[in-house]
Every structure is written in C-alpha cells, then in structure tokens.
C-alpha cells in the first residue's frame, strides 16, 4: 500500500445516503475524503448521523445509496472482517472471558499468525502502552483507563492502516480523558495511521484532530481544521456547537465589502463580518466569542459600541466570567483574563462593550 501512502483520498464517501426505515434519511448526501495518515473527527450531537457513518465505514451498516472507497476500492460489498479496519468501541468491548493477552492475540490468531510471533507482538504492544505485566489479567480486573488502553492496543496490534474510534473516551473521568487524548494522538502520529474518530465532545475534537467534520441533521455542516472551525464557523449551528458563543439577532442594514452594518432588534447598530448573508434586509444572527468582547473599548471614533448592564460576575481562577444584558439578551457572556490590572465588574453597573468587526460574524438567522 506504500504507493498510495500519499493519497489525499485514502477513504472516500461518495454521495452516501443511509436510511433505516425507508422514510427518513439519517445520512443525507455525504461527500468526504480522508487523507492517508490524517486524524479526522466526526463531531456532532447525538442523532446527527456521525456514528452511522462510522458503522458504514466499518461495514456493520450498508449504505442505502452511494459508494464508500477505501484505498481506491469500493468496499460496500466487502464484509467487515475482510476490510482490515481496526476499531475501538465505546465501552471498549474487551472480551470478558479472555485475558488481556488473549484479547490482544485474538486478531492475530484469526489471521493465522504463528504462536511465537503472536506472543512477541502482544508483549510488544502491551509494553508500548506500559501495561507489560497485565497480560494475564481479565478485563474486569483493570481500571477504566487501563481497559481503554488495551482496547486501543487491540485495534492496533494487527497493524491496520485505518482505525475507527467510536467515542472511546466517553466512559472516563475528565482528567483521564485529557491524558488519553494526548496519548491517542501521540500513538496515531507515531504509527502514521489514519484515524476516524467519532465524538460529541468538542474539546476532544479540537485537541486531537487534523480536521473536524461537524455533523448535524445528516449532513456535514463544516469540515475544517480545529482553529478554522473555532474562529471562522460557517453557520450559526457550528458557531453554537463549537465553544462558547454569544448571539444577537438583527437585520442587515448594508454590506460594505468586509463589513456589514447590522441593526439589532433594539435598534442599536453594530459592525460584523458578513459570512453567509448577502444582501441588505436579511435577518441574521451575529456571533461573538466571549473572549473577543472588549469592555470599555478603544476602537476608534467610527466603531460601534453597545451599552451593557452587568448582571453577574463569576470568578473562575484564570478568567473572569461576566454575564451581561446586551440588546435584550440576558445571557451575553464576556470572559476576561485574570490580570493584575483587570477591573472586576460589579453587578448593577453599566459598561460599554465593543469588538473588532472581523471577530463578529453575521451568520444565517
């Protein structure tokens, strides 16, 4: 497969549709190319179709329409066990009646690998995740994190080119989850494998991925690297789903190149960057990240600012989180860094807020 290692289309979904009941489409017209060695995350709320896509790729569901190609070959009619795709399941799916070593040895056994080579590979794999002494134990005797590592190792031990992960960290506590995120990323990079990772946790998606596909309603809403996804969401669903976000409703007054003038519902005016609005008179939702809002800004004479009432001030250690009422929205959040000179806003006072026009994105209503 070395000749295809540089291909940008190692995995291809070509106009894939999936319906379970013949009435509604769970996946609607999915087109996606995944490059060799890429770490791609499918992110979305439950019911958005992301797991179905993964299962179609693994071969446990068949596409109702369209082709899925792996390394250039259509795999729709290839049964799961012939696809050679590693998979990590949500609750690990370690076989409870086998020891850890037997679990790891299973994929090698079904490939008819010799006993000595099998044992050597299993030991090497266990050492790789620092679990050398645990080979003789049963899955139930391990902690969640250890089981997670074994499940990961089991999916990798037969050296697949593509590994699928279905919310593998969902059952772990926060701290372990963060450690494992980096570990999975490191192993994936070291081995140069292609990973398709499904999660509903956006932090996980942003931390680990080369690219993230945001799913909603059976479609990819945006496919982009994490930074682009966060900073330049293409529509209001993505803006809302990724990170914390303030929204204000209004009507576009005029579009002037890179800046749109938006009249909010309380008649105040703001500047925004037009993203998917095209003409004056359209309704829009403008979106601003809490950390890009400036309090009592100094943005120049012609910049628009808004009056805001301070409702609540929360001390969170590294940041201050202030809840404001802005243009009738009671849930307008501002995050400010905890600096020595940073003022703490008192509830009941009124402040001016503003932002650079490029930080404020005018999206679909």
């Amino acid at each position: 497969m070395s000749q295809s290692s540089t291909r940008a289309d190692f995995v291809v979904f070509d106009r894939v549709q999936k319906s379970y009941d013949g009435e509604t489409l769970v996946v609607k017209d999915l087109n996606l190319s995944i490059g060799k060695g890429e770490f791609l995350t499918m992110l979305g709320p439950s019911g958005s179709g992301k797991t179905t896509c993964l299962m179609m790729l693994a071969g446990f569901e068949t596409a109702t329409h369209g082709d899925i190609l792996l390394d250039g070959k259509p795999i729709n009619n290839i049964s799961p066990h012939k696809r050679g795709i590693g998979m990590v399941f949500q609750n690990y799916a370690l076989f409870p009646h086998m020891t850890i070593a037997e679990n790891l040895s299973f994929p090698l056994e079904v490939r008819k690998m010799g006993r000595s080579e099998r044992e050597e590979r299993v030991q090497r794999a266990l050492d790789l995740v620092q679990m050398g002494e645990f080979g003789g134990r049963r899955p139930a005797q391990l902690s969640g994190g250890q089981q997670q590592r074994v499940a990961l190792t089991r999916a990798l031990v037969f050296e697949p080119d593509l590994v699928l992960m279905d919310e593998p960290l969902g059952a772990l506590d926060k701290q372990l989850r963060e450690t494992m995120q980096f570990e999975i990323k490191r192993i994936a990079d070291d081995l140069g494998i292609t990973v398709v990772y499904v999660t509903h946790d956006q932090t996980e998606a942003l931390t680990m991925s080369d690219r993230v596909a945001v799913f909603e309603d059976g479609r990819i809403q945006q496919l982009a690297p994490p930074d682009e996804l966060y900073e330049a969401p293409k529509n209001s669903f993505v803006a809302q789903f990724i990170g914390e976000n303030n929204t204000l409703e209004g009507v576009v007054q005029e579009i002037n190149g890179d800046v749109a003038l938006v009249k909010l519902d309380d008649d105040s005016l703001i500047d925004a960057k037009p993203v998917n609005v095209s003409a004056a008179g359209e309704r829009t939702t403008v979106s601003i990240r809490p950390e890009r809002v400036e309090i009592n800004p100094d943005l120049g004479a012609d910049a628009h600012t808004l009056k805001a009432d301070v409702l609540e001030f929360i001390y969170m250690g590294d940041v201050f989180r202030t809840r404001l009422r802005v243009a009738g929205n009671d849930n307008f959040i501002v995050k400010t860094r905890n600096r020595a000179d940073q003022a703490r806003l008192e509830p009941g006072t009124q402040v001016d807020i503003g932002w650079l026009p490029q930080d404020c994105r005018a999206l679909d209503a």
Partner: protein
C-alpha cells in the same frame, strides 16, 4: 489508620460498649423482622416438604416391625446358627407361638407377613394360614410346638424361612438399599440377585443416559431460539417469548396426551408419512432416502455396538433407538419406547432451557461480535470464540435445571414411555402406590437424591456454580 492499628482491644462505640455488640443489637430487630416475613413459608416448607422427605428417607432403613411383632422369637433366634441347615429348636417355636397369639390378637401378623414377603415370596400366605390356627393355641398346655407348627405348614421347618426372619430382625436394615441396587441381603452379607430379577441398576443407568440425551437435545433446540429471543427487535421477541411460555399455561397432561395423538401408530405423524409415501414425490424419493438412511443407521448402529461394549459393565443397556428405521418407511414406532419419552420430554422441558439461556444471552452485548469481526474474525469464529463462551453460564444453568427435572420425571414417561421408556421414578411410584413396598421406594428415592447431589457437586467442582447465571 495509624490510630486504629495503635489502639488495643476491640473498637468501642460512643457509649463505651464494643462496636460489634452494638452493631449486632442494631441489626437484631431488622433480622427478626425479616425472619417473621419468611416464617410462614419456612414453616410451610418444613412441614410439607422437609419433614416428609426426612421421614421417607428414614423408611429406607427402618425395620422395627419384625422385632416388635416377634420380640420373643427374635431373642430366641439369637443362638440359632443360620448355616446349620436345619430349623431352630423347640424354644424358638414356643416363643413363636407366644408371639403369634399376641400378634393375632392385635392383627399384626398379616402386616409382618407382607413385609417379609418382599424378601421371600410365600411368607405372607404362611403367616395368614398360621394366624388362623394361632387363635386356638393353648400356651398353658405342654405341647410340642415344633410339631404343631409343622402340622400347620411344613414350610416352618424350612431353614431359609428362618434365615429371612433372623436377617431382618434388627431394627435398622440395609436390605432396602441392597435391593435397590439389585443385590439381596443374606445371613452372610449380600449377593447379586439372579440375572432375571435385576432391574434397578439398569433403570438408574437408563434414567441417567436418557436425562443426558434430553438435556443435549434441549440445548441443541433451545440455543437458536434463545439467540433469536435475545437478538430480535423487541416486538418480534415478545411474540416469540409468548410462544416459548405458552406451554406453561397448558396442563402437562394435555401436552403429553397431545404427543400421544401425534406419535402413535395411527397418529398424525405416521399418517402424514403414509400419505407422503403414496404421493409421486414420495415414491420417487423413498428409495434414495431409504438407502441414505440405511447407511446412516449402519454407522449409528456401529457406534451403538461400541457403546454397548463400553457400557457392558453396567449390564447391557437397551439402546434400540435406531433399529426401527432400518425397515424403511413402515409406520414408525414413535411412542411407548425410548424415542417417545425423549421427544415428549424434550418438548416439555425446553422452556427450562430457553429461559436461562435467554437471560444470559440478553446480557451479552452485540458489540462483542462486531468487535470480533472488526478484528478479522469470520461470522463463525466470532460466534464460536466470542459469543459462545459468554453464553456457557446459560447453558450450564439450563442444563442443570433440565437434567434435574428430567432425572426425576414421572408423568410423561408413564404416559408415553411404555415399558422401555420408563424412568426410575416410575418404579418408585409403582412401589409407593401398587406394591406398597415403601421402604424400597424410599431407598430408590434416596439413591436418586444422592445421585443428583453428587452430580451437582461434580458440576460445582468442574464448572463452578458461580458460573451458573439465571440472568443479570
């Protein structure tokens, strides 16, 4: 931690009493309440289940009737040498005369007669005959009692008769147990019964083998059904579950009788077969199938020959399971033999296999199969290496349940088993209700109980009873 280990003596509660004692006091009330809740059932079980079983088990060794009815005779017999080959002397006959007169007054001699008749036929009528004369015995007169008894019946001079009385004079006897393993008690110990009277070992062995066969057929038939139950969508699974439970709502007798209708010589199955043979397809296929069947039966009979060879130590087992089919497509003998018992009991015990299997399978996540397949296992490998081992606790639970139910089954073999397909329990029932030899019935039952407990123990040692799951 350091505080506790440093502290000597028991841990104390806040008021200074030892913590263990105050804990016990705190829990006592709730324990009493729990006991009160189960008390009605506990008493019910004790009175109606445990006590009768204990009583029956005691009957298997109890033998007071001889020494109670003939106290003087058994005492006088102590000096008699059983191997002398002659009847005892005059003092024994005098004691017998005294005992008989009292026994006749109490009407006990007939009971003793039928008791001893189990050991030697003819004693019952001898006792009744003697009883009629005993009323006229004049104990004060100086009679030669030996001659008197000889006059009544010369059997009284038969030393074998006296051997039986002496052998069974102790209050406890091993005679019933010896009987139930085809041996008989003699004055010197015990010996095998004549070959034509040996039935019980054969029956025990047949019961065991047939129970195993029934358990195996239940596994084979129940496993796929349980798998479907556990893996179908809820709606179809519920319907299937109702079908599985349906037999529970039908009387056992009705179901067994239905099998009689199905399987008998002029029954549904045979009539259908006869009709099939008369059709064109039947006429074309019959020679082919007969040929194939004969080959298969030849092989099976070869196996059976080996089986009979191996089980020869237990007395030949009547495995004639396959002989009927060699003749081709006659009406099949499906009932009043081993086949009938196996078919009907498999059907009746099947739910007891399916339900434990299902409850274990329902806990096996389908993700395991997917995981196995994602690692490159074929459907069969995934099933055999991953799913099947996890379902073994269900097989274990179902097998124990079916096997223990089967080994003590009575009604179905009684109705469809004929003479060749009956179980040991049918023999027990016969002794309880027809021959009234309760002691022997108790001994047979005790052996059956011991065998079940032994198998249960062996199962625990080999598989581990913890591995048996009825669900969860």
């Amino acid at each position: 931690m350091a505080d506790q280990t440093a502290q000597a003596g028991p841990v104390l509660a806040a008021d200074g009493t030892p913590l263990k004692r105050s804990l016990a006091r705190a829990l006592r009330l709730s324990k009493l309440r729990a006991l009160a809740l189960i008390a009605p059932l506990l008493i019910f079980v004790l009175v109606t289940f445990i006590a009768p079983i204990a009583d029956m088990l005691f009957r298997s060794v109890e033998n007071q009737i001889v020494s109670e009815t003939l106290p003087r005779t058994t005492a006088a017999l102590a000096d008699w040498d059983t191997s002398s080959g002659t009847a005892p002397d005059e003092p024994v006959f005098r004691a017998l005369a005294e005992d008989f007169q009292i026994a006749v007054a109490n009407k006990d001699h007939t009971k003793l007669g039928s008791r001893l008749n189990y050991e030697k036929t003819g004693i019952s009528s001898l006792f009744r005959k003697t009883g009629r004369k005993a009323k006229k015995f004049d104990l004060a007169a100086d009679t030669n009692w030996k001659a008197e008894f000889e006059d009544i019946d010369e059997d009284w001079l038969d030393p074998e008769m006296w051997q039986v009385i002496k052998t069974y004079s102790p209050a406890l006897t091993s005679g019933y147990f010896l009987n139930s393993i085809d041996r008989q008690k003699t004055s010197e110990g015990s010996e095998w019964r004549p070959d034509n009277q040996q039935i019980y070992l054969k029956l025990f062995w047949r019961t065991l083998v047939m129970s195993i066969v029934i358990t195996c057929t239940c596994i084979l038939l129940g496993y796929p059904v349980a798998w479907l139950l556990a893996n179908l969508p809820a709606r179809s699974a519920n319907l299937l579950m109702i079908l599985v439970l349906l037999p529970f709502w039908t009387s056992l007798l009705v179901r067994t009788s239905a099998w009689k209708v199905m399987l008998q010589q002029q029954g549904v199955v045979n009539d259908t077969l006869v009709w099939y043979h008369s059709t064109f397809v039947g006429k074309m296929l019959d020679p082919v199938i007969t040929f194939l069947l004969n080959i298969a039966i030849g092989l099976l009979n070869g196996l059976l020959w080996v089986w009979n060879l191996l089980s020869g130590a237990w007395g030949a087992v009547d495995v004639e399971l396959f002989t009927y089919a060699v003749a081709g497509f006659e009406r099949l003998a499906l009932i009043n033999n081993v086949t009938g018992t196996i078919i009907a009991m498999t059907h009746i015990l099947l739910p007891f296999m399916i339900l434990p299997l299902y409850s274990v399978m329902a806990t096996i996540s389908p993700v395991y199969l997917r995981a196995a397949k994602s690692m490159g296992a074929t459907n069969w490998t995934a099933f055999w290496r991953v799913y099947f081992p996890q379902s073994i606790p269900g097989i274990g639970a179902g097998s124990i349940l079916v096997f223990i139910l089967a080994i003590g089954y009575y009604i179905t073999p009684e109705i469809v088993g004929g003479t060749k397909g009956v179980f040991i329990s049918n023999r027990i029932a016969y002794h309880i209700s027809s021959s009234l030899n309760w002691g022997l019935a108790a001994a047979l039952g005790a052996i059956l109980l011991a065998a079940v407990l032994l198998l249960y123990w062996a199962y625990d040692r080999i598989v581990g009873i913890d591995n048996v799951k009825l669900g969860g």
